[in-house]
């Protein structure tokens, strides 16, 4: 299999972060959840800018997701193809969001009747 050797170079056998590492990631996720909860009680929308609450919540969620994907799902030690796949999924979802919203956000106010 001459071809996929190159994909395989970085793939160490049974790469992971060991039990202490898993526990650390777990801790981060728990803290992240609590922070999400706590931040939601603060009125960032008025203090910072409208939508700040949602933005912070999403940033934390992204951070948590990254931890899960990299360490629990072992992507950190995977081939470039897997990295690309994981990113492509989100990129494509972003395309769907962007191209749908480019319609909704550019409609005249008059078209919002129901």
């Amino acid at each position: 299999m001459a071809e996929h050797k190159e994909d395989h170079e970085e793939h160490g056998e049974h790469a992971h972060i060991g039990i202490p590492g898993y526990l650390v990631v777990f801790g981060i996720l728990v803290v992240g959840t609590i922070v999400t909860y706590a931040v939601a009680l603060l009125d960032l929308d008025s203090k910072l800018f409208p939508g700040a609450n949602t933005l912070v919540a999403l940033l934390i969620a992204f951070f948590k997701m990254t931890c899960v994907v990299l360490y629990f799902m072992h992507v950190r030690w995977q081939s470039k193809l897997i990295w690309l796949t994981a990113l492509a999924g989100f990129f494509w979802m972003a395309i769907m969001f962007a191209f749908t919203m480019q319609d909704y956000l550019t409609r005249g106010s008059g078209t919002f009747t129901n």
Binding site: I19, S79, M96
Partner: protein, 301 residues
Amino acid sequence: MSTHDHYHPPGLQHQFEDMKQQEESVSIGMWMFLVQEIMFFGGMFTVYLVFRSRYPMAFAAGSNHLDAFWGGLNTLVLIVSSLTMALTVYYAQKGNRNMQVILIILTMFFGSVFLGVKAIEYTDKYNHGLIPFSNWNKKTPAEGEKKTEHSGIVLPFETKAEAAEGKNEAHPYHNPTGTFQWDDKEGEKIITEAQQKGYLTNAEKIGYFTNGELDKEKIRGKVQIFYWIYFVMTGLHGLHMIIGLGIMAWLLWKAWLGTYSAEYYSPVEMSGLYWHFVDIVWIFLFPLLYLLGRHFLAGGH
């Protein structure tokens, strides 16, 4: 390079030359499947995005009636189950059968706890007339003793009873046909405040008011959309959890038989990927559904 001549590792399928090729194929396949899942939920998130950007205040009002305590607890439960799943893979790689079995059972346990909590929440919504589908709520006849209550808004660190005492809107009501109920003073307050501050979107300016007056009927429709999205998203997520439990049951059986070893453990790893993915979906669902309007209330206290 025929596979028939030499040593045939356990679990190697006929179309592959060696374990490495098989593992790589299976892993790419699983990730492609997850991409597919991302797009599946992505369609739902698009729906969420479109409607939330239209009716943010109705979403905030609706979200306040979800129980953030249960939602947060469920997030933690799922994270624990993710940890046990990750450890299952770890012990599968070590070929440790007993730890695998224990951890899979733990994962299934936490998965079931999640679904149990979900059932509690759904029941609560059913009792309080918050299921957005036509006449799917608890039917309380106009006559007789059987009355049900609106749920008061439950703030964090506050029990239901306290919430009901503190606010007056927890009053009994009749719902003979089981329609969607929405009669929330707090929500109207949020909308009025937002109107004064000039936060309302164009759609909201039309969508909540009739002749400049707040229109309860109209607001109910928008909140109903929020609940519709809530039920479909959490329902689909729950469905994935149930499928995940099925996979875990199968995995438990295989692990019990001692199928997996340092040489061959990719089914465990692939099931783990699926489980983690479902966890990730919830990591997003929790803040996007449960925590939208909390700060409006917390600010007022």
